[in-house]
Symmetry: D2
Amino acid sequence: VWDMAKSRFEYVRKFEQDDRLLHDTWIVIRIDGRGFHKFSSEHAFSKPNDARALGLMNKSAECVMQTFPDIILAYGQSDEFSFILKKETTLFRRRASKIMTTVVSCFTANYLFHWRDFFGEISLLYPPSFDGRAVLYPNESVLKDYLRWRQADCHINNLYNTCFWCLVDSGLTNDAAEERLSGTQSSDKNEILFSEFNINYNELPEIFRKGTTLIRQEVEESVTKLCKAKKEEGLSERLVQRKRKVVTAFHTDIIGEAFWSEHSKILDL
Amino acid sequence: VWDMAKSRFEYVRKFEQDDRLLHDTWIVIRIDGRGFHKFSSEHAFSKPNDARALGLMNKSAECVMQTFPDIILAYGQSDEFSFILKKETTLFRRRASKIMTTVVSCFTANYLFHWRDFFGEISLLYPPSFDGRAVLYPNESVLKDYLRWRQADCHINNLYNTCFWCLVDSGLTNDAAEERLSGTQSSDKNEILFSEFNINYNELPEIFRKGTTLIRQEVEESVTKLCKAKKEEGLSERLVQRKRKVVTAFHTDIIGEAFWSEHSKILDL
Amino acid sequence: VWDMAKSRFEYVRKFEQDDRLLHDTWIVIRIDGRGFHKFSSEHAFSKPNDARALGLMNKSAECVMQTFPDIILAYGQSDEFSFILKKETTLFRRRASKIMTTVVSCFTANYLFHWRDFFGEISLLYPPSFDGRAVLYPNESVLKDYLRWRQADCHINNLYNTCFWCLVDSGLTNDAAEERLSGTQSSDKNEILFSEFNINYNELPEIFRKGTTLIRQEVEESVTKLCKAKKEEGLSERLVQRKRKVVTAFHTDIIGEAFWSEHSKILDL
Amino acid sequence: VWDMAKSRFEYVRKFEQDDRLLHDTWIVIRIDGRGFHKFSSEHAFSKPNDARALGLMNKSAECVMQTFPDIILAYGQSDEFSFILKKETTLFRRRASKIMTTVVSCFTANYLFHWRDFFGEISLLYPPSFDGRAVLYPNESVLKDYLRWRQADCHINNLYNTCFWCLVDSGLTNDAAEERLSGTQSSDKNEILFSEFNINYNELPEIFRKGTTLIRQEVEESVTKLCKAKKEEGLSERLVQRKRKVVTAFHTDIIGEAFWSEHSKILDL
């Protein structure tokens, strides 16, 4: 009776829609922290940047890249991360839902799993979560512009936040700090930091100003292997050179051309 | 210069596609454990069913329902859970990506967050993850058939697994047990359980055989409130009756009509 | 070599996307004349309504219904027509592109094919065309509201146009007529027609005020058939009663409930 | 009351879905004759190719290109035509439904409108129609492969049909001709044509073997214009040179690179 029941109801699968993404096109999965404003203050993140929190974001992103070899690059800043899948990927037959939910779930799980490694005794008060989306970019030029857009966003937000928290630390209320910065250009904010707080913005850590770009780099390693030197003899240890791809982090400019010409093969592969 | 950079690259947002789901239609989000076969054996789950693991699944689903009031019902079994959003929901403007990634991330985060409450000292060896999908059901009849399909699936799998592990526990290899069950009907498996293992399948716990249905039920509570009895007097405690919706679990048949007529307002609300 | 060439390039089919429409949901195809403002003046259509042009629209729609038995109802006004496919239809496996392009092409072809039957010696100066779209409606209530929306639109436009052309015929310029009507309510326009032009709007032909609803109605016919009365005898004519579905036009109110209760089976079938 | 009715029902527009096509990607609209097997025999088209019918297809496609300046190339064979929109097009805000229905309707209307110019006194027995679809191609390489696929298809079908109709004309039944050709390679068919019918396939008209490619070519024209030579004088005629883009037909190979390097700017523009 159950066997029959199942086959009788199975027609409901027809209501699922095929959401395969256009072939030969880069797939970008961007995830974003949900309610991280509240989350970061309840867990007492340092302002404007918390090195532990950024470390945990980067670690989680690295684990996502470890899980999905078709991700060729990831760029993160603040509570967001973008993952670029190579344009030929056939991961999950390119089904949008499957790809984006798996990436977001994998990231979330790693964020909780590695929390202690970065925050030690500070315990999680409640579980943080992320949303995600998939966007297609059909050529290298628009794909790079996407990443440039995220880095320009990082820059603008970080400059603003740096100023904002300096003003607040110096005694202004949040509202007063906000008002002070309203309508200012980048140059004005640089000037405030320099003249009032003696901070040269460009000397602040690059991870804060430029975010984190993760790519796979080939490294050469020496590994000890057990080999038979000759047929008749026993095993002996030998040092062997080996090439391996390792996820590597950069906190560098990706808006100009330098990064892209140095790593020219990333997007092709 | 950064302000300009950002606006120069912002055109890449045009590549995002609008994925709003048809109005006035039930949205089902189904999430599934990824690689839970391996995950359950590495964490030594009892076979065929692990009460702690089911408890953790149900707890996570309940937290998802707590987070999203527009979820009117959830049904779970094994390593999967389906969440039904009321047909009028405007959650995230009905954007498919946003809804499904948020639900899957929220579930994942809760699964890790509450792990210790169910598994105590047994620690997580690696972070488990889930995938998700969104399916639309345009009328009550097909929506119920969807849930019936999942419960029929629960039944078939559970009966099979119960037999399989009895056979294995009795000394058969996995392959031999599989072969023994190949081609059998439900009635054959019931018979094997009864005659060889003295198990009456229908007396096994309902949570194993029927999965878990979560709905919101109105409960009446007595709460103590501080009130001013009269103007001139001070505060005094008073017992007040209050109605509240509470997520409640059922391990009951949802294939027949009884459950639906008892809870006839669930789908309308 | 050509055989090989074809199979080498055939991979490009993978770029086609599956666009099947949600099951168990009404599919509405609405087509609209492109540039019919210009088309109608170049072909000297009477204003505000041209009976020949409406006749040709209705004839074309009827032919579309003849071609696609799964269309259960069509509603037209001015230069637009909406076709409702029964909710269970599997026409072209419910592929949106295939359904909408075929309907719009079939309508267009019939419009040109039957032009002469309605416009006689007035020849087509250039070929008119239509666009189309597909919209899903998941329940009877919203589907009816869709049709009500189109009829309310018909009414508003027709009342406006009737006033406008009366004013223009009475000597106003187009601009002056437009200005005169700007900001007026339905009641104001009724009043203008009555007091200035002695026209009782509600006595104008229903086809102008209410558009055209086409449904399939069962009719009983007497057909003469050749039958063998008895084995040994020759053929003799006999009158036989037969039921047949015939596309029938109504110019009646579909906003109230009367039409729907009179034809209660249309949407079920 | 009508004004209110319309705004009350207008919510049904929410059920329309946004179907804008990915930016910066070539859009291909392919249209196909519906039931042209029957249509061509009822209108006595010559077999295997009817020059009038191909002329009418090409004329209709040319008119479509005249109507939509963003179409940069069209390729047709038998009863199908593919239209390539430039990748930057913003025609109808790139809405898939609007683009494909308009193209298919415009083509259909022209096919009927120009029928007489190609078939003279042979009148249309019933209105022919076409279906259409939209496919995206993200880079030049796959776009060209799409067109190569259609031309390889043209070649294979035409070779087969040429053989088939020779065999039928020589006295075979349709079934016998089909059987004779079943399992043959291109080379076999070439051989049959040559040895049995004295036909050198490669000498048949190119329009039959290679289909029709329409592109816009710049031509220089001399036009007579009325000009004022000097201020004080009257108008005088002057011959002026002018560049203009004209839709031009080629019946040439588009599988190799020659065509593409000769017309290297088509796809960029």
